[in-house]
């Protein structure tokens, strides 16, 4: 499971970085989203991966670490707000600058 998980994170991050480098606002937003998915999964994995380990102490011999899940929730909420903001900003940029390039002008 660890290898599959790590591979998923790697693919997500690589795709995200590639999209960031496209330097057009829509791919950039997609890239940022993919990277934040990867980061959230990474944070989640820091509580160690396991099956059948409840988060509630006392239900079984082992219990999952609830803190990374709390961290991920916070990170998701913040990431959500940031994505919403960057989408609105991109639309504003498109309206004001008449180009979807992140530098606000077409490359020569």
């Amino acid at each position: 499971m660890e290898a599959l998980y790590a591979l998923t994170l790697g693919v997500l991050t690589a795709a995200g970085v590639y999209l960031l480098m496209r330097a057009r606002v829509y791919p950039v937003v997609m890239g940022l989203t993919l990277i934040s998915y990867a980061v959230n999964l990474f944070l989640f994995a820091m509580g160690r991966l396991g099956t059948g380990v409840p988060a509630v102490i006392g239900k079984s011999a082992e219990h999952g670490d609830p803190l990374p899940q709390a961290l991920v929730l916070t990170a998701i909420v913040i990431g959500f707000a940031m994505t919403a903001f960057v989408v609105v900003l991109s639309l504003r940029a498109l309206g004001e600058l008449h180009t979807d390039h992140v530098d606000g002008e077409e490359p020569r």
Binding site: L20, V25, V28, L32, I35, S36, A38, V39, N40, F42, L43, A45, M46, G47, R48, D65, L67, P68, L71, T74, A75, I78, A81, M82, F85, V86, L89, S90, R92, A93, E96, L97, V102, D103, G104
Partner: protein, 500 residues
């Protein structure tokens, strides 16, 4: 438990929320409320500073969950000092803003308060994840404030600023994730304790996390390879916003000081002084790049942006040296440079308002309506920021140069700082002579000079001579701060002993 600790966070949060949900209130009421809250932070911060000066570390456990399990706020000399610096800066920036800059869009005051909430929170928190949260709060407020007022230039730099910071936030989370995965805690003092005990097997990963954090803080602080967003962003922002942003680079530097003296400081075993060797050349190069940029600019506001970068380089040199003397010199310089750079941004706006369409462009323009007043202010600011006597920049630099000792590091620091100072002086003289002397005979039809705006700028400028007059107690305080920072044991005791 001292509930005063949470006031600098609670007050702007409540005021900001109120301003947001009551956004139909008249602008007059909003201005009064916002001004009152911003200025109320000053006595509170000074009160906290006086408490912190006893040398005792104070913890505030939110919800009374004790460290390291609950989230804590921590007040030491450094955070109190940063709070006071912010409060003074924000007070004058707000005073400047209420004369019309807050009318250019909606909810300026709410955003300003949220920005203060984020900044104050970042200075007070004793928990790494909480630092991330406060960073995000101050960032999202700063995104909106940066593009406040609209216009193509602001949107353009806004996109860069937002995307860069979102990537940095991801890196921050990865760094936090690594630290938590390896050590099982995010409380700063507890992290320091666990890092010191980490075995050799985990050290490389911990070092990786440390460097990730350095990248994140470096972007906020605008150190060498990560500063390219700063000059255009600060130049595009509305003047009071740019003035407030002068403290934002210092938030990054504060985080560097906090993390790399506490977590990777004296007591970190194999990871002690993780980044010091790297910071030194980076500091020198940042300083040089800032000066070169300052010499090349064509706009007054961008010139100030590069001066901010020079100050970051100078400060970083003090941090990299890592002795008590150099840190205390750096802290003195930090107070000075925040206030003076902010004053310069306000002054640049005052000057631009008298030049009509030309604004801050460094070209021959119309005669200023008040050349003597603005010129005198510019002269004082320039002398102070370039680090010439008799103003505070000179004292800060002298402290730093003296702290470099007589060895190899002094050989590198002295020429860079002194020739850099000369470069700044050349750039400032060029700007000043174009703005004030090489002008046409005619002034623009309706030159503006608002007395309150001028007062705000003068108020911030006056802090420079005041810092010189009060240099002895301020220096004693920064010296004590540096010693407290380097004596990591007291912080570790907070967790071991359960804290107050």
């Amino acid at each position: 438990m001292n509930h005063g600790l949470i006031l600098p966070i609670l007050l702007p949060m409540l005021a900001g929320s109120l301003l947001l949900v009551r956004s139909y209130l008249s602008l007059r009421v909003k201005r009064v409320l916002s001004l009152a809250v911003t200025w109320a932070l000053l006595p509170i911060s000074i009160w906290l500073l006086l408490q912190a000066d006893s040398g005792e570390l104070q913890l505030y456990a939110l919800g009374n969950w004790q460290a390291p399990f609950g989230i804590v706020l921590m007040l030491d000399r450094l955070s109190a000092l940063m709070l006071v610096t912010t409060a003074v800066l924000a007070g004058f920036a707000m005073l400047y803003a209420v004369r019309g800059d807050d009318e250019r869009g909606a909810n300026f005051h709410a955003l300003f308060q949220f920005q203060l909430l984020g900044i104050n929170g970042a200075f007070l928190t004793g928990d790494l994840f909480n630092l991330f949260v406060f960073f995000e709060i101050l960032l999202i407020a700063s995104y909106s404030l940066l593009v406040y007022g609209g216009g193509a230039q602001r949107i353009k730099t806004g996109v860069h600023y937002v995307v860069l910071n979102l990537v940095a936030s991801s890196l921050f989370l990865i760094g936090i994730g690594i630290l938590y995965g390896l050590l099982g805690t995010l409380n700063l003092a507890d992290l320091a304790l666990k890092i010191a005990e980490a075995d050799a097997e985990r050290q490389p990963l911990l070092a990786a996390a440390g460097f990730l954090l350095l990248i994140v803080f470096g972007l906020k602080a605008a150190i060498l390879p990560l500063y390219f967003w700063l000059p255009s962003a600060y130049a595009a922002a509305t003047a009071p916003v740019a003035a407030l942003f002068a403290i934002m680079t210092k938030v990054g530097l504060y985080a560097i000081v906090r993390v790399f003296t506490l977590l990777f400081g004296n007591q970190a075993g194999g990871l002690a002084h993780l980044v010091d060797d790297l910071l030194w050349p980076v500091a020198m190069l940042t300083l040089v790049a800032g000066v070169i940029g300052a010499l090349a600019v064509r706009r007054f506001e961008r010139l100030i942006g590069y001066l901010v970068i020079v100050s970051v380089g100078t400060l970083l040199a003090g941090i990299a040296l890592g002795t008590a003397d150099s840190l205390s010199g750096a802290l003195f310089y930090l107070i000075h440079s925040s206030w003076i750079c902010a004053a310069l941004f306000l002054l640049a706006d005052l000057v631009a308002r008298q030049r009509g369409e030309l604004g801050g462009r460094l070209r021959t323009g119309p005669r200023l309506a008040n050349p003597l007043l603005l010129g005198a202010m510019f002269f004082i600011a320039a002398v102070s920021v370039a680090g010439l006597p008799p103003f505070s920049g000179f004292l800060g630099k002298v402290m730093l140069l003296r702290a470099a000792g007589t060895g190899q590091q002094a050989l590198e620091l002295w020429p860079v700082v002194l020739i850099g100072g000369l470069g700044m002086l050349v750039a400032l003289s060029r700007a000043g002579s174009v703005l004030f002397w090489r002008t046409a005979d005619e002034a623009v039809a309706k030159p503006e000079l608002d007395s309150v705006r001028t007062l705000a700028a003068i108020g911030l400028l006056a802090c420079s001579p005041l810092l010189v007059v009060a240099a002895q107690p301020v220096y004693a305080y920064t010296q004590a701060t540096a010693q407290q920072l380097l004596d990591v044991g007291a912080y570790l005791q907070l967790v071991r002993g359960g804290g107050a």
